[in-house]
């Protein structure tokens, strides 16, 4: 097992595409790290640089504390699972699993032992004599994971391994991967563009955008305190409502002037937000911080009155799109019990203790005391 560290790593492809820019990241030994970001943000490139399939144009890559920039992929002792599995189409599952071991000249008995162990663990022991073309997507996925496992590497790199599976299977594999990590305790780097996957699986998430790391942190931490509007808008569906507003002095307090009305800034945040008084800001409000019962909204609850535009009943909960005259509509997540219908007037209480403000010029979150 090993830690992975990236120090000011950059990658420019031949065509001049700067796929990765100056990334600093350290992944602890045994950690489950997620790379999350939209398609084309450089996740695969970063992963492939760790694996050694691409060379870094600048910076250092360390595995287990040793610089591996010039080390051949095979010598880095890591396994990578590709998005499309990259199984050897002409080999049986057994041969696929044993390929690397056979090349290394591992004794046959040892190969058999490991294949037996891994194929049982992955539930593919019945499939050992089949070709990849005779397997379903989920089975191929397991074989690809199995092939990574038999080598007992220091770290696993997974490049969107679940994205080709259907929704149900994806949920199953998600749980299995988490269990696998708990059992093995090996460092894992899991790439995904799916924020649900990221939130549910990782110990830490590294959110990337345009080849840069935007924020690194535990899922809940990133969720509650997004570093900028990009992260705020990327996590969760529906994501945080980002509404252009003005911050104005209001007596000895502060108030946020939205198109729909004003929201008083809770007392603990005042000092932090005071310098922005009189300026345009972006108010970030999570849909789940709107409550039907005022009591649920906590000490900083503020009444919001609007009209319902659309109702999406998801079963356990309902997503309301609420109109904001003169501004963009925003979403609220409420319990399913409600009988709200489009066109109805509705009164919700917003928990202003969860409010975040962003600087519209830098898109960064304006720092404030975190817990209230």
């Amino acid at each position: 097992m090993a830690s992975i560290e990236l120090r000011s790593v950059s990658k420019a492809y031949d065509g001049g595409v700067h796929a990765v820019r100056d990334i600093d990241l350290s992944i602890a030994d045994g950690e489950f790290m997620i790379f999350l970001g939209p398609s084309g943000c450089g996740k695969s490139t970063t992963l492939r640089m760790i694996a050694g399939l691409e060379t870094a144009t600048a910076g250092d890559i360390l595995i287990g504390g040793e610089r591996v920039n010039d080390l051949d992929p095979a010598k880095r002792d890591i396994s990578i699972v590709f998005q499309n599995y990259a199984l050897f189409p002409h080999m049986s599952v057994r041969k696929n699993l044993s390929f690397g071991l056979r090349l290394k000249g591992t004794p046959r008995a040892e190969i058999e032992r490991r294949i037996g162990h891994v194929s049982k663990m992955m539930g593919i022991d019945e499939l050992l004599d089949r070709r990849p073309s005779q397997l379903s997507g989920g089975q191929r996925q397991r074989v690809a994971l199995g092939r990574a496992l038999v080598r007992e590497p220091q770290a696993f790199l997974l490049d969107e391994p679940l994205s080709n599976l259907d929704a149900k299977l994806r949920a199953v594999m998600r749980t299995e991967l988490i269990k696998l990590h708990q059992r093995l305790g090996t460092t894992m780097v899991h790439v995904t563009h799916d924020q649900v996957e990221a939130m549910t699986m990782g110990e830490r998430i590294c959110i990337m955008k345009d080849g840069e790391v935007v924020q690194v942190g535990a899922p809940l931490e990133v969720y509650t305190n997004p570093a900028d509007t990009f992260v705020a808008g990327f996590l969760a569906t529906p994501s945080m409502n980002l509404m252009p507003a003005r911050l104005e002095a209001d007596g000895d307090g502060l108030a946020i002037h939205l198109a729909a009305g004003t929201i008083a800034v809770p007392e603990p945040f005042r000092a932090a937000y005071a310098p922005y008084a009189g300026q345009a800001i972006i108010a970030g409000m999570r849909p789940e911080d709107f409550h039907e019962k005022p009591a649920e909204a906590g000490p900083f609850g503020q009444l919001v009155e609007t009209t319902i535009e659309t109702v999406e009943a998801l079963g356990p909960e309902t997503i309301l799109t609420l109109s904001q005259p003169g501004g963009t509509a925003f979403a609220a997540r409420v319990s399913a019990a409600g009988t709200s219908r489009a066109g109805d007037k509705i009164r919700l209480t917003y928990d202003a203790g969860k409010l975040h403000l962003f600087d519209p010029r830098t898109t960064k979150r304006i720092a404030r005391p975190l817990s209230v």
Binding site: P73, S79, I80, F82, A86, H90, R147
Partner: protein, 291 residues
Amino acid sequence: MQTRIEAADQRFGWMLSAPGLMLLGAVIGFPIAWALFTSLFDYTLIMPSYDNFVGLDNYVTALGDKEFGHAAWVTLTFVAAIVVVEFSIGFLVALMLNSTERGRGIYYIILLCPLLMNPVVVGLIWRMLLHPTLGIVNYLLGLVGLGPVNWLGDPTNAFITVVLVDVWHQVSFMIVLLLAGLSALPREPYEAARVEGASTLQSFWHITLPLMRPVIVVTLLIRVIFAIKTYDIIYIMTRGGPGDATDLISYFIYRRAFVGLNLGEACALAGLLLAVIVAMTAYLHRVMRKV
């Protein structure tokens, strides 16, 4: 059951293909039928008549004929030589081209040039270039102090020369087909193999070769089928000589028919050659359907 629309479609289809089929029948079907028919008679150009039916005698004579045996042997070594050489060079060049990114189109065009030339033209050009006293090849060799080589006059030299000229002419065929196969291979298994610790040679052995197997088999079969029929280059460059050193079967048949004037026997020989080629083509067809 066929619906009326399907039946009408089929009639229309037959109507469209009729002229082509008729033409093929006239220029290919008829000559084959005529040759097979003639092969059953003692039919010579001195006495062209179907009076003397001999059954399979012509075939029996041909199979027992020492000269025919020799021609078959020469053909076999010729085919083996050009296919092995062309395949080796072709695969090597295809592998190199497959890993080049810049100027691939230019290489492609250059390589295709010989393939676009008529074999007769190729033969004539090389005969000129290789002329023992007037040819530029011997002149150039002379400049670096190498003695004049009797390219086509010596039996062993002539065989090798014909093989080399054919390689020059046809190797691009292999390159083009193998390159098409190589560029259709998936990229990911190579990366997977690299991470698993495979060297370039091991990747080639464990991934490229097995994945290319269908393409290789088809390419080899096609090339063998065409090589067996080689005629033009021999006619232009050596006339089967010196002696009978380059006497390939197709040229041997030609001699039987138009020098020996024994058309009946020549037709029997052609029938045997046809049988071999049809069998190989049928096999090729089966292989191609499987992949």
